[in-house]
Symmetry: C2
Subunit: 353 residues, 2 copies
């Protein structure tokens, strides 16, 4: 392991590290002591039937959900629900390459095993059941890689998921997304400081992380975001200042091995592993009331890819979120974003199931 | 200069190197002996009024036009027109960083000056006038950066351009395109073999060139190209084989300094340099009958960016080309591509002006 101060309570506020013990992995091997970083809001009722699960995206943690999505003024209302955010494996808060030590010491850095979306969901289900006694979820919701986990939950544990809201993500990763993630990954691997993944500090790979940020700038925001200079609303006075002052520092504090662990998961996300490649069969297993929520300007999870999956889910609805930011609309920067999210999630939660 | 066998008659067939003498540059400095690689088809008539100019795109040369676009079965018909393709400065065939020697020796490699789209168009106009005696063009047509040159022609020399067909490109480069090109450029600069641009062979930078190709894969083709596995039509059996067998070798033969010279031009293309930043004013200068021809699946010259410019050109028409390949539809791989191009260019050439 290496020290990285970003992955700490100082930068991520309150969360608990909960061990679920040994987690056997789909690709082989195991995490001997799988620890998941968990944040909750609200109170679990006596019947333990008012829980909502939030899953996290590539590079994201529970923090953005706390700051933007959860609150008494939102559909994700802790006055009504017990809301649990579980940071994904590799997130840097849960068991991850950079922090593997103790029983997990053999998994540190370049030795971290391949973890799949399904491994996360199995780990999350165990945590919810064993730690909280939760057997069913009113809602699973997540964006991007969180949408992948949401789909995996609904397909793998249909009886446990009453409602599902995958935002800006797909059930089966697309080849275009695979290539995009690979182009990001290559920025780390090509950095002279990479050292086969055995760098001493993420700062050794800072140039690669910056290039990674620059590619994210091209795909993560829409062409219109740049054309309309929406970054001016964030009080930057040039696109270069926005890159240097927002997108680069967002990523440069992070650990490249952690990002790579998540990227591999993202690239290989695929609910059809349950059905030997049959997408209609996999999505046909879903009994949750599902709102599929792509972002209209998303360049790597375009609406049509999400619609194609939505049409295979019985009783589902396509709820397109309008946001000129594109995929990174997920940050909730646009004042018009959260009202749409709250509208859709509010209607979904109000739906009898 | 360095040797690069790709930029030769062996790989590019017939072309003539025509010197237009000293070319003073908009950014300052000059090319002491500017040589342009020129290919022609057909015969210039006695009135010298049957000429068509083809401009070239980033990484492309006259070759793709010869192989795909020009012929008696096409609108660009050498039985009717005298068709001139002029390879842009930095193309590797015309004066470029890798081949600068003799009078241009001081411009070699990392010393190559900044060249603008306007410099190319001034050079092309001089060549056509002094070398061929051509004062007016029936049509200027080009794709991508060739579209930038087409727009520059129509704005700078409105009396000389009767018709214009910018395909898959814009008159004023967008900030998104700027960032995309920058992400490509950074792949070269970050290669340990880059050596400040003073590498001994493009092979020294091959890893950077491959990463450049991989980013092009994400933006150059559409999400649907990858989803529908259109590469199977090119007889590859995996997307990885397609990258390794098509897109990587397409770029790895090229010279990084040459690509960077073109990229800088692409990034700074802007017809409003003629009108102090006024786009409507610049496009209002155009008297050519103009067909603006974006490709519907283009991820970096999206239709809406092209439409916004088209609406500022008097008498122009928007002719959207449908091609699942996206921007690299320009290669003419889809059997449905050239019939659309021929239809539009045929109608344009048939329009009385």
């Amino acid at each position: 392991m290496i020290e990285n101060p970003f992955y700490s309570h100082e930068f991520h506020g309150e969360y608990d590290l909960v061990s679920i013990g040994r987690l056997d992995l789909e690709e082989g091997g195991c995490i001997p002591d799988c620890q998941l970083a968990v944040t909750t809001w609200g109170e679990l009722n006596a019947a333990k039937d008012n829980a909502i699960l939030i899953t996290t995206w590539y590079s994201g943690t529970h923090q953005i959900w706390r700051d933007v999505y959860v609150g008494p003024e939102h559909a994700l209302n802790p006055d009504r629900y017990f809301i649990v955010a579980i940071n994904q494996i590799g997130s840097g808060l849960s068991t991850s390459p950079h922090n593997a030590d103790g029983a997990n010491a053999d998994l540190a850095m370049s030795n971290f095993p391949k973890v799949r979306i399904g491994d996360d969901v199995v780990a999350q289900e165990r945590l919810l059941r064993e730690h909280f006694g939760i057997e069913r979820l009113q809602l699973v919701v997540g964006g991007s890689m969180g949408a992948q986990q949401t789909y995996e939950w609904a397909v793998r544990f249909p009886d446990k998921v009453l409602r599902a809201a995958p935002i800006a993500g797909t059930a089966q990763n697309t080849p275009h997304d695979y290539l995009f993630a690979q182009a990001l990954n290559e920025q780390f691997w090509s950095d002279p400081g990479w050292n086969g993944g055995e760098y001493k500090s993420n700062a050794d790979v800072v140039e690669g992380i910056k290039r990674h940020a620059h590619i994210f700038a091209v795909m993560g925001f829409s062409t219109e975001f740049w054309k309309q200079e929406v970054w001016r609303a964030l009080e930057f006075d040039s696109k270069e200042a926005f890159l240097a002052g927002f997108l680069e520092p967002y990523f440069t504090v992070m650990d490249p091995n952690d990002l790579l662990a998540m990227a591999w998961k993202w690239q290989h996300g695929d609910v059809t592993r349950h059905t030997a490649g049959d997408l209609a069969g996999a999505l046909g297993r879903i009994t949750a009331k599902t709102f599929v929520m792509p972002i209209n300007e998303d360049m790597f999870f375009p609406v049509r890819d999400c619609r194609a999956e939505q049409e295979l889910i019985a009783g589902s609805e396509l709820r397109v979120v309008e946001d000129v930011l594109g995929h990174l609309g997920l940050f909730g920067v646009a004042p018009t974003y959260m009202p749409q999210i709250d509208q859709h999630l509010g209607e979904l939660l109000a739906t009898e199931v």
